[in-house]
Symmetry: C2
Amino acid sequence: MRVIVLGGDGYLGWPTAMHFSKQGHEVMIVDNLAKRYWEAEVGVEPLVHIRSLQGRVKCWYAETGKNIDFHIFDISDNHRYLYRVFEGFKPDTIIHYAEQPSAPFSMADRGKCVETQRNNVLGTLNVLFAMRYSCPEAHIVKLGTMGEYGTPNIDIEEGWLDIEHNGRKDRMLFPKKPGSFYHLSKVHDSHNLEFACRIWGVRVTDLNQGVVYGIDTDDTLRHPELITSFHYDAVFGTVLNRFVVQAVVGEALSVFGSGKQTRGYLNIRDTLSCVELAAKNPAEPGEFRVFNQFTEQFSVQQLADRVKAIGDRRGFNVEIDHIENPRVEMEDHYYNAKHSKLMDLGLEPHLLTDEVIEGMMDVVSRHKDRVYRDLLLPDIQWRVPSPSRD
Amino acid sequence: MRVIVLGGDGYLGWPTAMHFSKQGHEVMIVDNLAKRYWEAEVGVEPLVHIRSLQGRVKCWYAETGKNIDFHIFDISDNHRYLYRVFEGFKPDTIIHYAEQPSAPFSMADRGKCVETQRNNVLGTLNVLFAMRYSCPEAHIVKLGTMGEYGTPNIDIEEGWLDIEHNGRKDRMLFPKKPGSFYHLSKVHDSHNLEFACRIWGVRVTDLNQGVVYGIDTDDTLRHPELITSFHYDAVFGTVLNRFVVQAVVGEALSVFGSGKQTRGYLNIRDTLSCVELAAKNPAEPGEFRVFNQFTEQFSVQQLADRVKAIGDRRGFNVEIDHIENPRVEMEDHYYNAKHSKLMDLGLEPHLLTDEVIEGMMDVVSRHKDRVYRDLLLPDIQWRVPSPSRD
C-alpha cells in the first residue's frame, strides 16, 4: 500500500508512519511542523525531548533499513505543492491528522479560534480537491473526534442515525453538539467530507476518536530518538496522561468540576490498529463511513480514582482536587456511545489495565525532572475569551 | 434601534439598510465590496447598473434627509477594524449578510470553494468575538439558508428536532445535508453560532431563508440610484429571476433535470419584513433561535409553468427546456418545511401572484438590452470541478 500521513510529525502521526513503514508499505509524511510552533506559542513542551522530523526519519532508517520520505509544507496554504505530492506519490491511502488538535488552544482567544478552523477546515478542503484531481481512487482516513457528538441524551450511533418523525423515516447524519471551536472544526470537516462523497464518489472513513492515552508503541520503544510527543500540560495533554504526571510529581490530580463527565478512551496502540484496519478495509466509492474509535468509557472521576489507587500503592500519596470547570459542558449526563464497527473488523483492544497505568508511571518517573508544574492547571476559560482584541 | 448591516452593499443588504433607516433607526453599513469583485471574477453583472455604495448613500440622504454611515473593509480579514466599529457604534442589532452567496460560485473550483468557506466561516467567527468583546448584549440576525437542510425524507422543522431513539429523547439541532460548499459554509456558521450562544450567552437568530425573488422594494423605487442588484446569470441569479429574464428576451427557460425539485421561496419584500420582525423581537440571551424564512413552496417546474403562462399571455411565446442538471441533488423527493414562527410574529406575506411576475417582467422589459444571453446557462458542474490546479 502507498500511504501518505498528513501530520506525520505529531503524537499520533509519527507512530502511525512507523507502523505502516514497518509492515513494508510505502510511507510518505507531510507536515508543516505547526504543532511545534503552537507549543511554543502557548509555552509548553512535551515531557521528553523530541528529535526533528529529519532526525526521526534518519533514525528509523538506521534501525529498520526502511525509508520514510517527507515534505515540509502547509496543506492549508500551499495547495499546489499538495496537488504535486499526490500526483507524484499516488497514494492508496491518505491518513489525515494534519489538524490543530487541542480544544483549549482553540478557546484561548479569537486568533487561535480562527487559526484552528482555518487550518483544519481549509486544509481538509485542499486535501479533497487535490485528491479529486490527482488520485481520485484513494481512500481518505480522517481523524475526527467523539467530541463532535457532545453528550446527547440518546445513544450515540456511529455517524448516522435512523430518524422517524411525524410518521416518516430517513437515515441522517447524527446531530452534532460539540464543546469547543476545535471540536466544531471537526464537525465542519465531517460535513464537507460527506458532501464530497456524495458529489464526487470519493471514499472517506471518518474516525471519531475518543480520548487517547499512552506513551509507547512497539516502534517508539526501538530507540530513544523514535519516541512520540507526550503532553501533560493543560493545553495539549489529555486527561489520563496529565493525571499520571500529576501523581508522579506529587501534584493533586485536577478534576474539572464534579468529574462525572464520561467519554470514550483508547490506548495509543489501538489508534494504530484502528487506522490500519480502516486503511486495509477501505470505504466504498461514494461512501462516507464513520467509526467511533474508542474501546472503553470512563468518567473523569473513575480515571482519577484509578490513578490514585495505583499511585498510592507505589507510595506517591496521591490527592484529588476538584477545580472549577474551565469548560462549558454537562457534568451529569447520559453517555452510551456505540463502537462495534472496528471490533467487527477485528480490533483487539488494549484495555486500561493497572499494568498500563503503571507502565506510564514508570516512563514519567524517569523523566520527572522535565515536568514544569506551572503547566498542569488550565488557564483558558471557555466562558471568557482573552480580553485582547487580537 | 442601532442597526449595523454587514454586507450592506448587497442584493438584500442595501434594501435592508434603507428599510431600517427609513423608520428612524440609526443604520451603519459594513461591506468590503467583495460581491462586486466576485461578479467581475466570473464575468457577470447585474441587470441594471448599480451605483457605488458612496453614491447610494448620498442619494438616500438627498431623498430622505437620513444618513447611513458606512465602513469599507473585510470583516473576515480585518478583525481589529470590526472590534473598533462595534465599540464605537454599539449596535443593538447586527444583521449579518456579509457572505459569499452563490452555490455555483462555491462549486467552480478549489479556489472559490476555499474562498467561500474562508470568507463566510471565519468572518462569522470574527463577528462573534468582536461582539463578545465590544457589545455582548447585541442581537445577531444571521442570514442562513433553507438549503442547509437539503431534502430530507421527513418534515423540516425550524432548526431543532425532538428525537426519540432507543426509548430516550433529546432536542437536537436538525441534521443537515446541504448541497454545495456554499450551503455547507452556512451549516458551519450555524454550528459555530449555536455554540457561542451556549458558552457566552449571546443572542442569535439564524434565518434559514428560502430562495428570494423580486426586484423592487418601496425604497428602491424612490430613485433610480437606489435600486438593488438584480442578477439573472447562472452564478448569482436565483431561479425565478432568471426565468423571468429568459421569458422576456425569448430564451427557453432552463429547468435543471426533471424540475421536480421543490424549495421554499419568498419575495424580497418579505426578507425585509422578516429581518425586521427578528430584530424587533430579539432572541433571549443564550438562545440560538432558528426561523425558516420563506412563504411558499414551489417546484422548479411549477415556476417555469407559471412564467410560461404569463409570458405567453404577453406574447413572449415562452419555451421550457429541460437541461442536464449541473447539480447533484435529488429531483424526486419529499419536501415539507415548517415556517410558522415568523407568521406567529406577524409576517404578512407577499405571495407570488401573477401581478408580481408581471411586475418583474415590466422591469426586465425596460432593461432587456442589458441582458447578455451567454450568462443564462450554467457552466459549473457539481460533479466535475475545474481541471485547473489553482
